[in-house]
C-alpha cells in the first residue's frame, strides 16, 4: 500500500480515485429506491470498472466490461424492467440497511487484507513467477502471434474457451426456451409497437 502512496504517478492516482468512486456508486446502488436509477448506477459502476481495467493494462477485459457491463447488460436489464414494470416494489429501507452492512463488513476486511497484496507490476509477484514467463517464451516460437493473451485463450487454453462459448450459447438457448416465442398462431396479427420505445406522444408537448 505504501508504494502506491509514495510514487504518485497518474496510474497510481487513478487507482486511488477510481475505487473510491466505485464505493460511492456501489453505496448508491444499495440505497436506491428506484429500479431505473439503480440500473443507471450499475452502468456507471461498469464504466468505472472498465477504466480501472484499462489503467491496470488489461485492455481486452476493459473492452468486454465496457461493452457487456455498461452496454448490453444495461439494455437487457432495462428490457427486463419493461417486462416486470418499473414501479415494482423495492425492498424495505430496513432490508437495504441490512444488505449494506452485510456487504460493508467483507469490504472493510478486504481493505485490510489488500495491504498484503503485491504492488502493481511487481516482478516478484507470485502470479508473474510460474506459468506466465513460460507462456511468454513459448508463445513466440509455438504460435507465432504477438498477442500472447490470444494465444493462451485460443490455443493453450482452447478447451476452456470452448466451454465458455458453449455456456454463452446455452444461456441464450435457455432464455429462448423460457421466454421465447410460442408457435405462431395461425393468422396472428403483427404488432408494430416496440417494447422499449416510449408510447407515442399525442401532440401534447408544451413548447
Amino acid at each position: 500500500m505504501n508504494e502506491i502512496f509514495f510514487q504518485a504517478g497518474t496510474a497510481e492516482l487513478a487507482l486511488l480515485a477510481l475505487p473510491a468512486f466505485l464505493v460511492v456508486t456501489a453505496t448508491a446502488i444499495v440505497f436506491s429506491r428506484d429500479l431505473l436509477v439503480c440500473t443507471a448506477h450499475l452502468t456507471i459502476f461498469s464504466l468505472v470498472m472498465a477504466v480501472i481495467y484499462l489503467v491496470l493494462a488489461a485492455p481486452d477485459v476493459a473492452m468486454t466490461e465496457a461493452a457487456v457491463g455498461a452496454g448490453v447488460s444495461t439494455v437487457l436489464i432495462l428490457a427486463a424492467l419493461v417486462l416486470v414494470g418499473r414501479d415494482t416494489e423495492a425492498v424495505s429501507p430496513r432490508w437495504q440497511r441490512i444488505g449494506f452492512i452485510v456487504m460493508a463488513v467483507p469490504f472493510v476486511i478486504l481493505c485490510f487484507v489488500a495491504g498484503d497484496l503485491p504492488a502493481l507490476g511487481d516482478p516478484a509477484a507470485p502470479s508473474t513467477q510460474y506459468l506466465a514467463p513460460d507462456f511468454l517464451q513459448r508463445s513466440e516460437a509455438e504460435i507465432g502471434i504477438p498477442n500472447v493473451v490470444t494465444s493462451i485463450l485460443a490455443s493453450y487454453r482452447g478447451f476452456d474457451t470452448f466451454g465458455e462459448v458453449s455456456v454463452v450459447f446455452t444461456a441464450a438457448m435457455a432464455l429462448m426456451l423460457l421466454l421465447g416465442p410460442k408457435a405462431p398462431a395461425p393468422g396472428a396479427g403483427r404488432e408494430k409497437k416496440d417494447a422499449l420505445a416510449p408510447p407515442v406522444r399525442k401532440e401534447a408537448s408544451h413548447d
Binding site: 485492455p59 481486452d60 473492452m63 468486454t64 461493452a67 457487456v68 452496454g71 448490453v72 439494455v75 437487457l76 428490457a79 427486463a80 419493461v82 417486462l83 516460437a141 509455438e142 504460435i143 507465432g144 502471434i145 504477438p146 498477442n147 493473451v149 490470444t150 494465444s151 485463450l153 485460443a154 490455443s155 482452447g158 478447451f159 474457451t161 470452448f162 465458455e164 462459448v165 458453449s166 454463452v168 450459447f169 444461456a171 441464450a172 438457448m173 432464455l175 429462448m176 421466454l179 421465447g180 416465442p181 405462431p184 396472428a188 403483427r190 404488432e191 408494430k192 416496440d194 417494447a195 422499449l196 420505445a197 416510449p198 407515442v200 406522444r201
Partner: protein
C-alpha cells in the same frame, strides 16, 4: 424512439464505425487486444443500438431471428468442428498443430477459425437475449 431526429442521425453516422471496429477487433485480435468475444459483443451492441432507435422490427428485417439462432449454433459448431478436424487428422481435440504442415501456420489457422466461431456465437447469443426480452409475447418476425 422513432421521433428522436438527433439520435437517428447520429446513430446512422456511428453504426458503420461500430461495425468496423468490431470487425477490426475480430480479425486483428492476434496483434492487438481483443478477439472473438469482444468483437462479438461490439457488433451485437451496434445491432442493439440500431434496434433501440429504429425499432426491432426493422432490425429483424435485416437479420431474421431464425438466422440469428442458426448462426449462434453455427459458431459453436465451427469451434467444435476445428477440434474434431484436429482429431480426425490424428491429434488431440483442439490440437491445431495437425491442421497444416508448419506448426505456427497451423496454430494461426486454428486460432482464426475458432475466434470466428466465438465471434459468431457471442454476437448472436447477445441478439437472441435482446430480442427475446424486448419482443416478449410478440412475434419474432419483422
Amino acid at each position: 424512439m422513432t421521433d428522436q431526429v438527433v439520435l437517428r442521425i447520429v446513430i446512422k453516422f456511428l453504426l458503420p464505425y461500430i461495425f468496423l471496429y468490431g470487425l477490426y477487433v475480430q480479425f486483428h485480435g492476434e496483434y492487438s487486444p481483443g478477439g472473438g468475444f469482444q468483437a462479438g459483443v461490439i457488433i451485437a451492441t451496434g445491432m442493439i443500438l440500431y434496434s433501440l432507435i429504429y425499432g426491432s422490427s426493422l432490425a429483424l428485417k435485416v437479420l431474421p431471428f431464425s438466422l440469428i439462432q442458426r448462426l449462434a449454433a453455427l459458431g459453436v459448431l465451427i469451434y467444435g468442428g476445428v477440434g474434431v478436424a484436429a482429431m480426425l487428422k490424428g491429434g488431440n481435440f483442439l490440437d491445431y498443430s495437425q491442421l497444416a504442415g508448419v506448426q505456427t501456420t497451423a496454430q494461426q489457422i486454428g486460432i482464426v477459425l475458432i475466434e470466428l466461431g466465438v465471434g459468431l456465437t457471442v454476437t448472436c447469443a447477445m441478439l437472441v437475449l435482446f430480442f427475446t426480452l424486448t419482443r416478449r409475447g410478440r412475434s419474432l418476425r419483422p
